[in-house]
Amino acid sequence: MDSALIPKEAKRCSFPVFAVGIAVAGVIVLWGVYAMGLCWLKGLNQTNMNDYYGFALWIWADLAVIAIGGGAFFTGLLKYVFGIDELKNIINLAVVIGFVCYSSALLILAIDIGQPLRGWFIFWHANVHSMLTEVAFCLSLYFSVLIIEFIPLILENRKLDKIPFFHHLSHNMHGVMAVFAATGAFLSCFHQGSLGGVAGVLYGRPFAFREGLLVWPWTFFLFTWSAAAYGPCFTLTVLKIVEKITKKKLVKDNVVYTLAKISGWMITTYLIAKIIDTVYWALVTAPSLGFNFMSFYSNNKFYGLWILFAEIVLGGIIPAAILIKKDWRENSKLLILAIVLGTLGVCINRWVMVLQVMAPPVMTFDTWALYYPSWQEVATTVLPVAYGVILISLAYRYLPVFPQEKELNAE
């Protein structure tokens, strides 16, 4: 039915099977859109946020998708700027994932603000001292870069490529892609960092506050580094999921191992910095503001020491160890364990830097505040996941996302 659109010699499931899969994800999208409509029409009273939890699930989702979407800018940087050419075999997937993540983040932000129609004020009345302004600027500009990076891939669709203008445009865009990728990497460094700065500058919140360099708290650098380190973990996780579903090998092992190894060393160096930061914060920063380290971890079971352990050890040291050791990362089961743990680890870090920041009281006579999301918040957060499934499925079916697919699956 749609065979004319499918890349040449590529094998895809029949259209009805594909349509059923898309329909299932589509139902979830509709559920999310309904919740989104409720939030826009009835206001943020549809959420379980309150005046203690002004930042909650959505801000975490924003930070998390942007962190795991970091694979796009980092892989782009490695390929186009540092010239690691074999990564061309996975860059398309990284770009598609980046596109999904960043468009989701922008959508969630549009739901999250109390007056969505005034969203443009952040550009027009910008306070240049605010980390959130920096986030908004770099995020929207980087999303433009992702669109530019995505266009040539779309134009390579069999039908579109037959149109001469599109054929040339796609070719020419590839020619100057290094400029776009470098711009994207520059923007990413700042918006990943400024997302870290969002929490780090809060000097009224001792759990989040960090000293730093010039106007940037240490979390600024930690967030950039962690997004570059953990982003490829998510790219590889998605690759493995796609391979599992399609029952095909899509990228050669050497490419996967190269990216995994780089990710492993990035996580290792990040962890060293993160552990130093945590120790300094626990022993110097927090006590200077009157807080014991344990005062942030001993009130309730949810925010116990386990969360720090899960973030640093389970989501950090273990994946780093697996990914840097050749034998381990080349063991397929250990590799999957590492990339999944890595993805979870960075998500826990973002959770802690948003949700746990809000939880402990600062005034001595105040109380801990715990929060659980409403179904509307959950639905609007699941919405991007379902949307991502649809977009990646469409991209896989109709676009030459994996250049090695043909070679690896030749009869």
Binding site: G43, G54, G114, N127, S130, Y203, M358, M363
Partner: protein
């Protein structure tokens, strides 16, 4: 943000609350809500999403009867001067759209409701929980809208609001002074609704830069330390964070003064050093 560092003429409005006088009656909260058209919900059970620009906290010394003592702490917006008292308040410095601003001529932290787009970053930044979000549309029961103050604009759903130190009263006082061809306003011309409503006279309001004003005499703010009180019985909430609030508290009771800030275990005596450093 146009900065006017006119130190000679600049006011620095602030508040001093005597916690030994406060009975916790809540008059300040009622007066504030009525004066500032603060919206309310049909059901106010959940205090974490109801709006109280002035909020009275209750605390105890944690001892059992007969040694139990209770203290009430009214908490308006602190109108922080921020680190170094340069106007970089926790909230002002983070607002992405300059919807909250520090007025260098009065020291008041403003909130521009029509510009706020409801990102709530300022709420995350404020350690005093002095900022409130309008989760619902403000609705007054039929007829009650006639009691609204025409001097204060009601806020729409989806924006943040907070105590303004009754700024409209300052504007009215300045208008009067201008009309009467006076250069400046007097102490009693500009008083907040909570200060006037307090039956125990626990709340005093005035210019912390003016040594003639009662607030100055009560706490003796030290201009070299962001206004930290030189008066030993006075303190500010969370002094160590460096927010430099303009709301001061006074108490004869040491445990109350200690409750104003956090201290690492074993270093509880640090709070005594604060005023003498």
């Amino acid at each position: 943000m146009i900065k006017k560092h006119n130190k000679a003429k600049a006011h620095k409005f602030g508040m001093v609350i005597d916690l030994d006088k406060c009975t916790g009656c809540g008059s300040c909260m009622v007066a504030c809500m009525s004066e500032n058209n603060v919206p309310f919900k049909e059901n106010e059970t959940n205090k974490k999403d109801s709006i109280t620009w002035m909020h009275v906290y209750r605390l105890t010394n944690g001892k059992s009867f007969p040694d139990t003592e209770i203290c009430y702490i009214p908490r308006p917006c602190m109108h922080c001067g921020g680190k170094g008292d340069h106007g970089h308040s926790p909230c002002v410095s983070v607002c992405p759209a300059t919807a909250t601003d520090y007025d260098y001529t009065t020291g008041i932290v403003s909130q521009i409701y029509t510009r706020c787009f409801g990102c709530r970053y300022c709420m995350a930044a404020c350690p005093y929980h002095a900022r409130y979000f309008n989760w619902w549309d403000p609705i007054w029961p039929s007829g009650m809208e006639k009691t609204l103050s025409p001097d204060v604009s009601p806020r729409m759903r989806g924006v943040v609001e907070k105590c303004s130190f009754c700024f409209h009263r300052y504007q009215a006082a300045k208008d009067t002074a201008y009309f009467e061809e006076r250069e400046d306003i007097t102490e009693d011309e500009y008083q907040t609704a909570c200060a006037q409503a307090c039956p125990a006279n626990a709340i005093v309001f005035g210019d912390l830069n003016n040594s003639e004003h009662e607030v100055y005499k009560l706490v003796k703010p030290d201009p070299y330390h962001g206004g930290r009180p030189k008066e030993p019985k006075a303190f500010r909430l969370l002094e160590r964070l460096g927010t430099n609030p303009k709301v001061y508290y006074i108490s004869e009771r040491e445990w109350v003064r200690k409750a104003g800030d956090n201290y690492v275990k074993g270093k509880e005596k640090d709070h005594k050093k604060h005023n003498t450093e």
